[in-house]
Amino acid sequence: MLEIVIHIALLILFPPLLLGLINKTKSWFAGRTGPPLLQAYFDIAKLLRKGAVYSRTTTWVFRAGPIVSLGSVLSAGLILPLASNVAPLGFTGDVILFAYLLGLSRFFTMAAALDTGSAFEGMGASREAAFAVPAEPALFLSLAIVCIPAKAASFQAAWDALPWALWGGAHPAYLAAAIALFAVMLAENSRIPVDDPNTHLELTMIHEVMVLDHSGPDFAFILYGSAMKLFIIAALLVHVLLPIPEHLSWTGVILLCLGEAALAVLIGVVESVVARLRLTRVPQFLIGASVLAGIGLAIALYRGAA
């Protein structure tokens, strides 16, 4: 019971902090003070207190977008182990449902964008679709790398079987999975080099331009949902990289929080030192991640057979 409470508490409370950490890191690089660490919490609280404006063009699909999106990301967070190797709703085959819940969230975000009839939002949806296509095989190949040696397609089995000594080239397959997952995390969460969350021109946006017309609580849900999506994909990566204990313990909670924070700082560093890719180069970046994960899978299979 306590395990579930801690899982849900982490899932609900932690995500917006990641945005603060990323922004602080970027500010540090730029020599600015930057917004407070808890700015994302303030933003969400402020948006929740506001009214809403809806476009006359839209139907209920537009209003369903933020809600279904947040709901499916939350459900995905409930089947993914966080501070231990057990998730409240985990089962055999949950890795597939995890990826498809993220797909459901994407479907409704894009449909809501098309519902406004705006050329800008259509453009955002189009780019979102274009980059999700090369990212999806990378995600699944990485999941296959961690699941196949564990002989079960579930997170719990995969993390139980994961060898702790990843470093020193002993398990290049997991390293490939980690790199590919990092690329997927950048793409799925609209970070540089795929998308720039701070860009100022609608024409260059991807995720931000899809949600232009949302306001008030709806926009709070979107902001919160995207923070949570970043949190859960980062949690996946933390489990590949760090030896989180099998059962609930303070070590696990601390390791997860430290790992999440470190990844947020890493994203901040990447955003500060790397330029955004030209839109036509993004698929190549993600196809590269897929190829890397494919090579990793081949290594994992070869080692399993040997």
């Binding site: 809806y54 139907t59 409930l78 894009m110 449909a111 705006s118 999806e136 190949l141 296959a144 397609a153």
Partner: protein
């Protein structure tokens, strides 16, 4: 139960004849045909589901007054499963068809549409219970011809006649391979009875291999394996929408049934059969959905998406066969179960989507999605059910497509850890392929749903649009509900189809699989609960605050018009760019010329890769090779008389030689 199935065949054929006899009165033939089909489908669905639940096996032998032997029909779990698919979906489509054909009364003779529709259903039922090669092929041909006449319902249109001809040629080419296969099997068994086939073909031998390849080509033509799918995208837009729904939802699955039935004859399959099917599945799935993304005709788009789903079914079968060949019951069960469940699921959501497309066509008179938009406000029921179908076909959770794709995925994951590396890799290839197909399908159906139903209407066509009549709405609602029920409660669906799966592998559904499916139900209810909670939360938050309506934010631009919306073509352009090497493109541009250009045009056509790069060159080469034979055809009657005389002389000499020789 065979008696009840026989009764429904009788009802179907009787009402088909009745509708034909009443051909002068459109209303009566519509009533007779519809009533007969509904009665038959209700009877048949009840009987076949009862047979499936009780794993009934029945067989019936009757003398056929023809020299080729007796008529042999039977019922087992595989047949019962396919019968259930046929009857459930055909019944729903019949009701829709009655509404769809109504506006044609007085404008076009309806009797052929009804007669051939009922004949088509009857032929599919007969095909599935046939236990004799000859009877099977007769039913197969009746099915092909009945559907040909349905496709060419509007035969005053040039494109319809062309599509019908393509379909006829493809299906006759395909059936030639089936004739060859049954001839080989019949020769080695000494009879065309299915019971005698099984056990008479050495498992894993070259005869079995040849028969398998013939079956893949012959049945694959009907099912739509790439590059044999070429008739599908032409035939579906040409056919009336309820016929497209029946053909895409049920008839192409007869190809899958044929392949499965053949697998039962051929004994334990070697692993390379599975690898071949995985390969076919990857090519078919990816190229199907890629071409679906390029279409602007909504029914053509759906036809290509059927090709994609046949690819997913082939992936499932391939994984199942690979597991079966290594005696890994769990992998075999998951693969076959995923394929069979996807047969049923695709039947549901594809018939639903074709019905939605038909309603849109009815309301606006166009199939071109680029001239639609904003239809949701005019047609809420069609829009909502089309959305349900779109979510289901993308394999997204809460709907049935997810359950079957999940089974195939899980089979591939388990194959990776439970099989020798070489074949394991083949099965694992299904994982990234399914992931890519899934992501492309999401893009494809967000585009289809978004461009047709959301945003602002792009042309006048939408202005007068109205919701479809009750006869058309009701089946769409029922089908959408069925999609959700199977999606939320997949464990029940798996238990129902398990007897059919166990004809291929003796493994039962592991308790782990059933528990996982129950877990999916749990998560689906959690998700539904979360959505409800969030909706209520927003309602509470917005209470007493200002909620206003405004135009869409145009980023400062004050005068947006509907024509400025993203079009379907622009939506997919960035997505397709990395894949353009796979899609043939023809560009025609004119101008702008000179310093003061007057006008300029730009036209881009995306073709079918398999058709233009494989089939067209192959058929040109074939015709070229055959042109040598053309020398004997000079068109002069004297020459033909010489041929006849020469033939007679040769025959005479041969006969005389035979007599004297004896």
């Amino acid at each position: 139960m065979l008696g009840w199935i026989g009764l429904s065949i009788g009802l179907l054929i009787g009402s088909a004849l009745g509708a034909a006899v009443a051909f002068r009165a459109d209303r009566s033939s519509l009533a007779i045909g519809t009533a007969g089909s509904i009665l038959a489908c209700v009877t048949g669905a009840a009987a076949s589901i009862a047979a499936l639940v009780s794993s009934l096996e029945e067989s019936f032998l009757a003398d056929w007054p023809l020299p080729i032997g007796e008529i042999h029909v039977g019922l087992d779990s595989l047949s019962a499963f396919f019968l259930a698919c046929i009857f459930v979906i055909s019944g729903l489509v019949t009701v829709y068809g009655a509404g769809y054909l109504r506006p044609y009364i007085g404008k076009r003779r309806l009797a052929p549409a009804l007669t051939f529709f009922n004949l088509l259903v009857a032929a599919m039922v007969a095909l599935v219970i046939a236990r004799d090669g000859i009877f099977f092929l007769v039913a197969w041909e009746v099915m092909s011809f009945a559907s040909f006449f349905l496709v060419t319902f509007e035969n005053d249109r040039e494109d319809v006649r062309r599509a019908g001809m393509t379909y006829l040629i493809a299906s006759q080419l395909g059936v030639a391979f089936l004739f060859a296969m049954f001839a080989l099997l019949g020769h080695s068994a000494g009879s065309f009875n299915f019971d005698s086939f099984a056990g008479n073909v050495p498992a894993g031998g070259s005869l079995a291999g040849i028969c398998f390849l013939l079956a893949v080509v012959g049945f694959g033509t009907k099912a739509g394996f790439v590059p044999l799918h070429i008739w599908l995208p032409d035939a579906h837009p040409a056919a009336p929408s309820h016929v497209s729904a029946l053909m895409s939802g049920v008839m192409i699955k007869m190809g899958i049934y044929g392949l499965l039935r053949t697998l039962l004859f051929l004994g334990s399959p070697p692993a390379w059969w599975g690898a071949l099917l995985v390969g076919i599945g990857i090519v078919t799935g990816i190229s199907g959905v890629l071409h679906a993304l390029t279409q602007r005709d909504i029914k053509r788009l759906l036809a290509y998406s059927s090709v994609e789903n046949i690819g997913i079914i082939a992936l499932g079968l391939g994984v199942g066969i690979i597991g079966q060949s290594h005696g890994n019951g769990a992998v075999a069960f998951l693969g076959y179960a995923g394929a069979l469940l996807h047969v049923f699921n695709h039947g549901l959501f594809k018939s639903l989507l074709f019905e939605g497309a038909g309603s849109v066509l009815h309301a606006t008179g166009t199939r071109n999605i680029e001239s639609l938009g904003g239809l949701y406000r005019h047609m809420p029921v069609t829009g909502l059910t089309f959305l349900a179908g779109s979510l289901a076909i993308c394999g997204l959770p809460l709907f049935n497509g997810f359950a079957s794709e999940w089974l195939v995925y899980l089979g591939a994951f388990q194959a990776g850890s439970g099989l020798p590396a070489a074949w394991g890799v083949t099965a694992i290839a299904a994982i990234p392929a399914l992931a890519l197909i899934g992501a492309l399908a999401v893009a494809c159906f967000v585009r289809a749903f978004g461009v047709v139903f959301l945003g602002e209407s792009r042309t006048e066509a939408v202005t007068g649009a109205h919701e479809a009549g009750i006869a058309m709405r009701l089946p769409m609602i029922v089908t959408a509900v069925l999609c959700a029920v199977v999606g939320i409660w997949p464990a029940g669906a798996l238990r129902l189809i398990a007897p059919a799966v166990q004809m291929f592998t003796h493994a039962a559904a592991t308790t782990e699989t059933l528990e996982s499916l129950t877990a999916i139900t749990r998560i689906a209810s959690v998700l539904a609960g979360l959505v409800i909670v969030l909706v209520l939360a927003r309602k509470v938050l917005l209470r007493g605050r200002e909620v206003s309506q405004a135009p869409t934010w145009g980023c400062g631009y004050a005068l947006p018009t509907p024509r400025m919306q993203y079009s379907a073509a622009s939506f997919v352009e960035p997505l397709l760019r990395p894949f353009m090497a796979l899609i043939p493109i023809r560009v025609r541009r004119d101008g702008p010329n000179g310093f003061f250009p007057v006008k300029a045009t730009y036209e881009e056509r995306l073709g079918d890769a398999a058709g233009e790069r494989v089939l067209a060159p192959a058929s040109r080469a074939f015709i070229q090779a055959l042109s040598r034979v053309r020398i004997i055809q000079q068109g002069r009657i004297q020459l033909y008389l010489v041929y006849i005389a020469a033939t007679l002389v040769i025959l005479l000499v041969w006969q005389l030689a035979g007599v004297t020789g004896r």
